[in-house]
Symmetry: C2
Subunit: 211 residues, 2 copies
Protein backbone atom coordinates (compact mmCIF):
# COMPACT_ATOMS: atom_id res chain seq x y z
CA UNK A 1 0.00 0.00 0.00
CA UNK A 2 2.71 2.44 -0.97
CA UNK A 3 1.58 6.01 -1.51
CA UNK A 4 4.11 6.54 -4.28
CA UNK A 5 3.33 6.27 -7.99
CA UNK A 6 0.31 7.26 -10.02
CA UNK A 7 -2.94 7.30 -8.03
CA UNK A 8 -5.91 5.57 -9.63
CA UNK A 9 -9.12 7.56 -9.72
CA UNK A 10 -11.18 7.05 -6.53
CA UNK A 11 -8.34 5.28 -4.75
CA UNK A 12 -9.21 3.39 -1.56
CA UNK A 13 -8.86 5.65 1.49
CA UNK A 14 -5.90 3.62 2.76
CA UNK A 15 -4.02 4.35 -0.44
CA UNK A 16 -4.30 8.12 -0.15
CA UNK A 17 -1.38 10.24 1.06
CA UNK A 18 -1.92 12.35 4.20
CA UNK A 19 -2.63 15.55 2.27
CA UNK A 20 -5.12 13.68 0.14
CA UNK A 21 -6.79 12.17 3.17
CA UNK A 22 -7.23 15.62 4.61
CA UNK A 23 -8.67 16.76 1.31
CA UNK A 24 -11.03 13.80 1.28
CA UNK A 25 -12.21 14.61 4.81
CA UNK A 26 -12.81 18.16 3.61
CA UNK A 27 -14.84 16.83 0.67
CA UNK A 28 -16.98 14.83 3.08
CA UNK A 29 -17.45 17.78 5.41
CA UNK A 30 -18.50 20.12 2.63
CA UNK A 31 -20.77 17.48 1.07
CA UNK A 32 -22.55 17.04 4.41
CA UNK A 33 -23.05 20.79 4.56
CA UNK A 34 -24.46 21.05 1.04
CA UNK A 35 -26.67 17.97 1.32
CA UNK A 36 -28.10 19.27 4.59
CA UNK A 37 -28.61 22.80 3.31
CA UNK A 38 -30.08 22.08 -0.11
CA UNK A 39 -30.97 18.40 -0.01
CA UNK A 40 -29.03 15.53 -1.53
CA UNK A 41 -31.09 15.28 -4.70
CA UNK A 42 -30.65 18.90 -5.75
CA UNK A 43 -26.92 19.02 -4.93
CA UNK A 44 -24.61 18.10 -7.84
CA UNK A 45 -20.94 17.16 -7.74
CA UNK A 46 -20.42 20.42 -9.65
CA UNK A 47 -21.90 22.35 -6.70
CA UNK A 48 -19.58 20.39 -4.45
CA UNK A 49 -16.49 21.16 -6.56
CA UNK A 50 -17.50 24.82 -6.68
CA UNK A 51 -17.71 25.20 -2.92
CA UNK A 52 -14.43 23.33 -2.53
CA UNK A 53 -12.84 25.60 -5.10
CA UNK A 54 -11.69 22.72 -7.33
CA UNK A 55 -12.52 21.64 -10.88
CA UNK A 56 -15.74 19.63 -11.34
CA UNK A 57 -14.07 16.42 -12.44
CA UNK A 58 -11.46 16.38 -9.68
CA UNK A 59 -14.14 15.48 -7.12
CA UNK A 60 -14.00 11.97 -8.57
CA UNK A 61 -10.40 11.73 -7.48
CA UNK A 62 -11.70 11.50 -3.90
CA UNK A 63 -15.05 9.78 -4.34
CA UNK A 64 -16.64 7.17 -6.60
CA UNK A 65 -20.07 8.74 -6.83
CA UNK A 66 -22.38 11.15 -5.07
CA UNK A 67 -24.32 8.23 -3.63
CA UNK A 68 -21.13 6.69 -2.26
CA UNK A 69 -20.43 10.01 -0.56
CA UNK A 70 -23.85 10.08 1.06
CA UNK A 71 -23.47 6.47 2.16
CA UNK A 72 -20.06 7.14 3.72
CA UNK A 73 -21.40 10.18 5.58
CA UNK A 74 -24.42 8.28 6.87
CA UNK A 75 -22.19 5.38 7.91
CA UNK A 76 -19.92 7.73 9.85
CA UNK A 77 -22.86 9.23 11.69
CA UNK A 78 -24.42 5.89 12.58
CA UNK A 79 -20.98 4.70 13.65
CA UNK A 80 -20.73 7.58 16.12
CA UNK A 81 -24.29 7.09 17.36
CA UNK A 82 -23.85 3.37 17.93
CA UNK A 83 -20.47 3.91 19.59
CA UNK A 84 -21.83 6.39 22.11
CA UNK A 85 -24.84 4.13 22.71
CA UNK A 86 -22.54 1.19 23.40
CA UNK A 87 -20.43 3.23 25.79
CA UNK A 88 -23.51 4.01 27.87
CA UNK A 89 -24.78 0.42 27.71
CA UNK A 90 -21.40 -0.86 28.93
CA UNK A 91 -21.21 1.56 31.86
CA UNK A 92 -22.02 0.66 35.49
CA UNK A 93 -24.92 3.14 35.75
CA UNK A 94 -28.41 1.83 36.56
CA UNK A 95 -30.99 1.70 33.74
CA UNK A 96 -32.67 4.99 34.68
CA UNK A 97 -29.35 6.82 34.75
CA UNK A 98 -28.42 5.21 31.44
CA UNK A 99 -31.72 6.30 29.93
CA UNK A 100 -31.16 9.86 31.08
CA UNK A 101 -27.69 9.85 29.50
CA UNK A 102 -29.01 8.43 26.25
CA UNK A 103 -31.79 11.02 26.02
CA UNK A 104 -29.32 13.80 26.72
CA UNK A 105 -26.81 12.47 24.18
CA UNK A 106 -29.39 12.14 21.43
CA UNK A 107 -31.05 15.49 22.04
CA UNK A 108 -27.88 17.53 22.43
CA UNK A 109 -26.35 15.73 19.43
CA UNK A 110 -29.30 16.71 17.24
CA UNK A 111 -28.98 20.33 18.42
CA UNK A 112 -25.19 20.48 17.98
CA UNK A 113 -24.73 18.56 14.76
CA UNK A 114 -27.57 19.84 12.64
CA UNK A 115 -26.10 18.95 9.28
CA UNK A 116 -25.24 15.41 10.23
CA UNK A 117 -28.59 14.92 11.93
CA UNK A 118 -30.44 16.18 8.87
CA UNK A 119 -28.59 13.67 6.70
CA UNK A 120 -29.66 10.59 8.59
CA UNK A 121 -33.17 11.93 9.13
CA UNK A 122 -33.97 13.18 5.63
CA UNK A 123 -31.60 11.84 3.03
CA UNK A 124 -31.20 8.09 3.54
CA UNK A 125 -34.13 7.47 1.18
CA UNK A 126 -31.79 8.55 -1.64
CA UNK A 127 -29.36 5.71 -0.94
CA UNK A 128 -29.28 2.62 -3.15
CA UNK A 129 -31.50 -0.23 -1.93
CA UNK A 130 -28.41 -2.14 -0.81
CA UNK A 131 -27.03 0.78 1.19
CA UNK A 132 -30.45 1.59 2.59
CA UNK A 133 -30.65 -1.95 3.93
CA UNK A 134 -27.34 -1.41 5.77
CA UNK A 135 -28.49 1.84 7.39
CA UNK A 136 -31.87 0.31 8.29
CA UNK A 137 -30.01 -2.35 10.30
CA UNK A 138 -28.03 0.36 12.08
CA UNK A 139 -31.13 2.42 12.81
CA UNK A 140 -32.83 -0.69 14.20
CA UNK A 141 -29.79 -1.48 16.38
CA UNK A 142 -29.91 2.03 17.82
CA UNK A 143 -33.62 1.74 18.62
CA UNK A 144 -33.15 -1.70 20.14
CA UNK A 145 -30.34 -0.43 22.35
CA UNK A 146 -32.60 2.29 23.71
CA UNK A 147 -35.52 -0.10 24.18
CA UNK A 148 -33.28 -2.59 26.04
CA UNK A 149 -32.38 0.04 28.65
CA UNK A 150 -36.06 0.83 29.16
CA UNK A 151 -36.91 -2.87 29.49
CA UNK A 152 -34.07 -3.30 32.03
CA UNK A 153 -35.45 -0.36 34.02
CA UNK A 154 -38.90 -1.94 33.98
CA UNK A 155 -37.53 -5.24 35.30
CA UNK A 156 -35.78 -3.41 38.13
CA UNK A 157 -38.98 -1.52 38.98
CA UNK A 158 -37.44 1.84 38.08
CA UNK A 159 -39.56 2.45 35.01
CA UNK A 160 -43.34 2.26 34.47
CA UNK A 161 -43.88 -1.36 33.35
CA UNK A 162 -47.15 -0.72 31.53
CA UNK A 163 -45.74 0.98 28.42
CA UNK A 164 -44.14 -0.91 25.55
CA UNK A 165 -40.40 -0.03 25.53
CA UNK A 166 -40.55 0.21 21.74
CA UNK A 167 -43.27 2.83 21.94
CA UNK A 168 -41.31 4.79 24.55
CA UNK A 169 -38.34 4.68 22.18
CA UNK A 170 -40.46 6.08 19.34
CA UNK A 171 -41.57 8.97 21.57
CA UNK A 172 -37.99 9.70 22.67
CA UNK A 173 -36.58 9.58 19.17
CA UNK A 174 -39.40 11.73 17.84
CA UNK A 175 -38.85 14.47 20.40
CA UNK A 176 -35.08 14.21 19.90
CA UNK A 177 -35.10 14.10 16.11
CA UNK A 178 -37.49 17.04 15.87
CA UNK A 179 -34.82 19.13 17.63
CA UNK A 180 -32.85 18.87 14.42
CA UNK A 181 -35.69 20.67 12.63
CA UNK A 182 -36.35 23.58 14.97
CA UNK A 183 -33.18 24.18 16.97
CA UNK A 184 -31.16 27.28 16.11
CA UNK A 185 -27.80 28.10 17.64
CA UNK A 186 -27.78 31.33 19.60
CA UNK A 187 -31.51 31.12 20.36
CA UNK A 188 -33.26 30.98 23.74
CA UNK A 189 -31.78 27.60 24.71
CA UNK A 190 -28.37 25.95 24.69
CA UNK A 191 -28.11 22.29 23.61
CA UNK A 192 -27.68 21.50 27.32
CA UNK A 193 -30.89 23.34 28.25
CA UNK A 194 -32.87 21.33 25.73
CA UNK A 195 -31.35 17.96 26.56
CA UNK A 196 -31.69 18.44 30.33
CA UNK A 197 -35.31 19.56 30.10
CA UNK A 198 -36.26 16.82 27.65
CA UNK A 199 -34.75 14.20 29.97
CA UNK A 200 -36.71 15.71 32.85
CA UNK A 201 -39.97 15.71 30.87
CA UNK A 202 -39.56 12.06 29.88
CA UNK A 203 -38.36 10.75 33.22
CA UNK A 204 -40.50 12.78 35.63
CA UNK A 205 -43.45 13.70 33.44
CA UNK A 206 -45.26 17.02 33.34
CA UNK A 207 -47.93 16.40 35.98
CA UNK A 208 -47.08 17.32 39.57
CA UNK A 209 -48.97 14.24 40.78
CA UNK A 210 -49.62 10.99 38.96
CA UNK A 211 -52.71 11.35 36.78
Amino acid sequence: VSAAGAEPAAAGVSELRPAQRRRRAEVLRVAAELFAENGYETTSTTDLAERLGIKGGSVYYYIDSKEELLFELVQDIYGLLLESLQEVLDSDADPLAKLRQLIELHVSGMARHRHRGALILNETRSLSAEHRAVTAVQAAAYEEGLASVIAAGQELGQIDPDIDPKLVTKALLGAGNWVNRWYREGGAWSPQDVSRDFARIFLDGLARSKT
Copy 2:
Protein backbone atom coordinates in the same frame (compact mmCIF):
# COMPACT_ATOMS: atom_id res chain seq x y z
CA VAL B 1 -72.58 33.58 -9.32
CA SER B 2 -74.72 31.50 -11.61
CA ALA B 3 -73.35 28.08 -12.41
CA ALA B 4 -74.77 28.19 -15.92
CA GLY B 5 -72.87 29.19 -19.00
CA ALA B 6 -69.25 28.74 -20.01
CA GLU B 7 -66.90 28.16 -17.10
CA PRO B 8 -63.72 30.19 -17.04
CA ALA B 9 -60.54 28.20 -16.45
CA ALA B 10 -59.86 27.79 -12.73
CA ALA B 11 -63.23 29.17 -11.68
CA GLY B 12 -63.61 30.18 -8.04
CA VAL B 13 -64.89 27.29 -5.92
CA SER B 14 -68.19 29.06 -5.30
CA GLU B 15 -68.82 29.19 -9.05
CA LEU B 16 -68.51 25.43 -9.56
CA ARG B 17 -71.57 23.21 -9.99
CA PRO B 18 -72.07 20.38 -7.46
CA ALA B 19 -70.60 17.72 -9.77
CA GLN B 20 -67.61 19.94 -10.39
CA ARG B 21 -67.15 20.59 -6.69
CA ARG B 22 -67.11 16.88 -6.07
CA ARG B 23 -64.57 16.51 -8.83
CA ARG B 24 -62.47 19.29 -7.32
CA ALA B 25 -62.56 17.61 -3.91
CA GLU B 26 -61.41 14.44 -5.65
CA VAL B 27 -58.55 16.35 -7.30
CA LEU B 28 -57.47 17.63 -3.88
CA ARG B 29 -57.69 14.18 -2.32
CA VAL B 30 -55.65 12.54 -5.05
CA ALA B 31 -53.10 15.38 -5.04
CA ALA B 32 -52.60 14.92 -1.29
CA GLU B 33 -52.03 11.22 -1.89
CA LEU B 34 -49.46 11.77 -4.67
CA PHE B 35 -47.63 14.60 -2.90
CA ALA B 36 -47.35 12.50 0.25
CA GLU B 37 -46.28 9.36 -1.59
CA ASN B 38 -43.75 10.81 -4.02
CA GLY B 39 -43.12 14.30 -2.73
CA TYR B 40 -44.55 17.53 -4.08
CA GLU B 41 -41.53 18.47 -6.20
CA THR B 42 -41.43 15.23 -8.14
CA THR B 43 -45.19 15.06 -8.73
CA SER B 44 -46.39 16.73 -11.94
CA THR B 45 -49.91 17.79 -12.89
CA THR B 46 -49.60 15.11 -15.59
CA ASP B 47 -49.14 12.47 -12.86
CA LEU B 48 -52.17 13.92 -11.16
CA ALA B 49 -54.31 13.81 -14.32
CA GLU B 50 -53.16 10.25 -14.98
CA ARG B 51 -54.23 8.97 -11.57
CA LEU B 52 -57.52 10.84 -11.90
CA GLY B 53 -58.05 9.32 -15.33
CA ILE B 54 -58.49 12.67 -17.06
CA LYS B 55 -56.51 14.54 -19.74
CA GLY B 56 -53.43 16.47 -18.55
CA GLY B 57 -54.75 19.92 -19.35
CA SER B 58 -58.17 19.42 -17.74
CA VAL B 59 -56.57 19.56 -14.29
CA TYR B 60 -56.35 23.31 -14.79
CA TYR B 61 -60.10 23.43 -14.98
CA TYR B 62 -60.13 22.74 -11.23
CA ILE B 63 -56.91 24.38 -10.07
CA ASP B 64 -54.75 27.38 -10.95
CA SER B 65 -51.39 25.77 -10.36
CA LYS B 66 -49.73 22.91 -8.53
CA GLU B 67 -48.54 25.32 -5.85
CA GLU B 68 -52.08 26.61 -5.35
CA LEU B 69 -53.18 23.02 -4.85
CA LEU B 70 -50.52 22.41 -2.20
CA PHE B 71 -51.44 25.67 -0.46
CA GLU B 72 -55.13 24.79 -0.39
CA LEU B 73 -54.37 21.34 1.03
CA VAL B 74 -52.09 22.75 3.71
CA GLN B 75 -54.67 25.42 4.57
CA ASP B 76 -57.35 22.75 4.98
CA ILE B 77 -55.15 20.74 7.32
CA TYR B 78 -54.15 23.70 9.46
CA GLY B 79 -57.79 24.73 9.53
CA LEU B 80 -58.76 21.37 11.00
CA LEU B 81 -55.86 21.39 13.47
CA LEU B 82 -56.65 24.88 14.73
CA GLU B 83 -60.34 24.09 14.92
CA SER B 84 -59.82 21.03 17.11
CA LEU B 85 -57.32 22.96 19.23
CA GLN B 86 -59.84 25.75 19.76
CA GLU B 87 -62.55 23.26 20.72
CA VAL B 88 -60.37 21.91 23.49
CA LEU B 89 -59.25 25.37 24.63
CA ASP B 90 -62.91 26.45 24.89
CA SER B 91 -63.99 23.40 26.91
CA ASP B 92 -64.51 23.37 30.68
CA ALA B 93 -61.77 20.80 31.33
CA ASP B 94 -58.83 21.73 33.58
CA PRO B 95 -55.45 22.42 31.94
CA LEU B 96 -54.06 18.94 32.59
CA ALA B 97 -57.12 17.28 31.07
CA LYS B 98 -56.92 19.68 28.12
CA LEU B 99 -53.27 18.85 27.62
CA ARG B 100 -54.04 15.14 27.62
CA GLN B 101 -56.74 15.68 25.00
CA LEU B 102 -54.44 17.77 22.82
CA ILE B 103 -51.64 15.20 22.96
CA GLU B 104 -54.08 12.45 22.07
CA LEU B 105 -55.61 14.45 19.22
CA HIS B 106 -52.27 15.32 17.69
CA VAL B 107 -50.77 11.85 18.01
CA SER B 108 -53.79 9.93 16.79
CA GLY B 109 -54.28 12.45 13.98
CA MET B 110 -50.72 11.89 12.77
CA ALA B 111 -51.26 8.12 12.86
CA ARG B 112 -54.66 8.24 11.14
CA HIS B 113 -54.06 10.88 8.49
CA ARG B 114 -50.61 10.02 7.25
CA HIS B 115 -50.87 11.76 3.89
CA ARG B 116 -52.16 14.99 5.31
CA GLY B 117 -49.63 14.93 8.13
CA ALA B 118 -46.78 14.35 5.69
CA LEU B 119 -47.87 17.39 3.68
CA ILE B 120 -47.65 19.90 6.52
CA LEU B 121 -44.48 18.31 7.89
CA ASN B 122 -42.47 17.90 4.70
CA GLU B 123 -43.86 19.93 1.84
CA THR B 124 -44.58 23.45 3.07
CA ARG B 125 -41.03 24.50 2.08
CA SER B 126 -42.22 24.23 -1.55
CA LEU B 127 -44.87 26.92 -1.06
CA SER B 128 -44.32 30.45 -2.35
CA ALA B 129 -42.78 32.83 0.19
CA GLU B 130 -46.16 34.53 0.59
CA HIS B 131 -48.00 31.29 1.25
CA ARG B 132 -45.24 30.01 3.50
CA ALA B 133 -45.69 33.11 5.63
CA VAL B 134 -49.39 32.29 6.03
CA THR B 135 -48.74 28.70 7.13
CA ALA B 136 -45.95 29.83 9.47
CA VAL B 137 -48.50 32.00 11.28
CA GLN B 138 -50.86 29.03 11.57
CA ALA B 139 -48.11 26.73 12.82
CA ALA B 140 -47.13 29.34 15.40
CA ALA B 141 -50.75 29.71 16.52
CA TYR B 142 -50.97 25.96 17.02
CA GLU B 143 -47.79 25.89 19.10
CA GLU B 144 -48.90 28.89 21.15
CA GLY B 145 -52.24 27.24 21.88
CA LEU B 146 -50.49 24.17 23.24
CA ALA B 147 -48.01 26.26 25.24
CA SER B 148 -50.85 28.32 26.75
CA VAL B 149 -52.47 25.19 28.18
CA ILE B 150 -49.18 24.15 29.74
CA ALA B 151 -48.65 27.62 31.21
CA ALA B 152 -52.20 27.55 32.64
CA GLY B 153 -51.45 24.16 34.21
CA GLN B 154 -48.29 25.56 35.76
CA GLU B 155 -50.17 28.50 37.25
CA LEU B 156 -52.69 26.11 38.79
CA GLY B 157 -49.89 23.95 40.22
CA GLN B 158 -50.89 20.97 38.07
CA ILE B 159 -47.80 21.04 35.87
CA ASP B 160 -44.08 21.19 36.71
CA PRO B 161 -43.35 24.95 36.75
CA ASP B 162 -39.62 24.61 36.05
CA ILE B 163 -39.81 23.77 32.35
CA ASP B 164 -40.41 26.36 29.65
CA PRO B 165 -43.87 25.68 28.13
CA LYS B 166 -42.41 26.33 24.69
CA LEU B 167 -39.82 23.63 25.18
CA VAL B 168 -42.48 21.19 26.38
CA THR B 169 -44.45 22.00 23.25
CA LYS B 170 -41.43 21.22 21.06
CA ALA B 171 -41.04 17.84 22.79
CA LEU B 172 -44.74 17.03 22.38
CA LEU B 173 -44.86 18.04 18.74
CA GLY B 174 -41.67 16.15 17.99
CA ALA B 175 -42.94 12.90 19.46
CA GLY B 176 -46.32 13.43 17.78
CA ASN B 177 -45.00 14.45 14.36
CA TRP B 178 -42.54 11.56 14.28
CA VAL B 179 -45.55 9.22 14.45
CA ASN B 180 -46.31 10.31 10.91
CA ARG B 181 -42.95 8.88 9.83
CA TRP B 182 -43.01 5.46 11.50
CA TYR B 183 -46.66 4.53 12.07
CA ARG B 184 -48.12 1.81 9.86
CA GLU B 185 -51.77 0.80 9.88
CA GLY B 186 -52.31 -2.80 10.89
CA GLY B 187 -49.09 -2.94 12.93
CA ALA B 188 -48.64 -3.68 16.62
CA TRP B 189 -50.50 -0.57 17.80
CA SER B 190 -53.76 1.18 17.00
CA PRO B 191 -53.77 5.00 16.80
CA GLN B 192 -55.50 4.90 20.22
CA ASP B 193 -52.73 2.77 21.73
CA VAL B 194 -50.08 5.21 20.60
CA SER B 195 -51.93 8.36 21.64
CA ARG B 196 -52.90 6.98 25.06
CA ASP B 197 -49.37 5.79 25.83
CA PHE B 198 -47.76 8.99 24.60
CA ALA B 199 -50.09 11.05 26.81
CA ARG B 200 -49.17 8.80 29.74
CA ILE B 201 -45.43 9.14 29.06
CA PHE B 202 -45.63 12.93 28.90
CA LEU B 203 -47.97 13.44 31.83
CA ASP B 204 -46.69 10.83 34.27
CA GLY B 205 -43.12 10.31 33.07
CA LEU B 206 -41.25 7.06 32.81
CA ALA B 207 -39.67 6.90 36.28
CA ARG B 208 -41.67 5.18 39.04
CA SER B 209 -40.45 7.78 41.52
CA LYS B 210 -39.35 11.36 40.86
CA THR B 211 -35.69 11.38 39.84
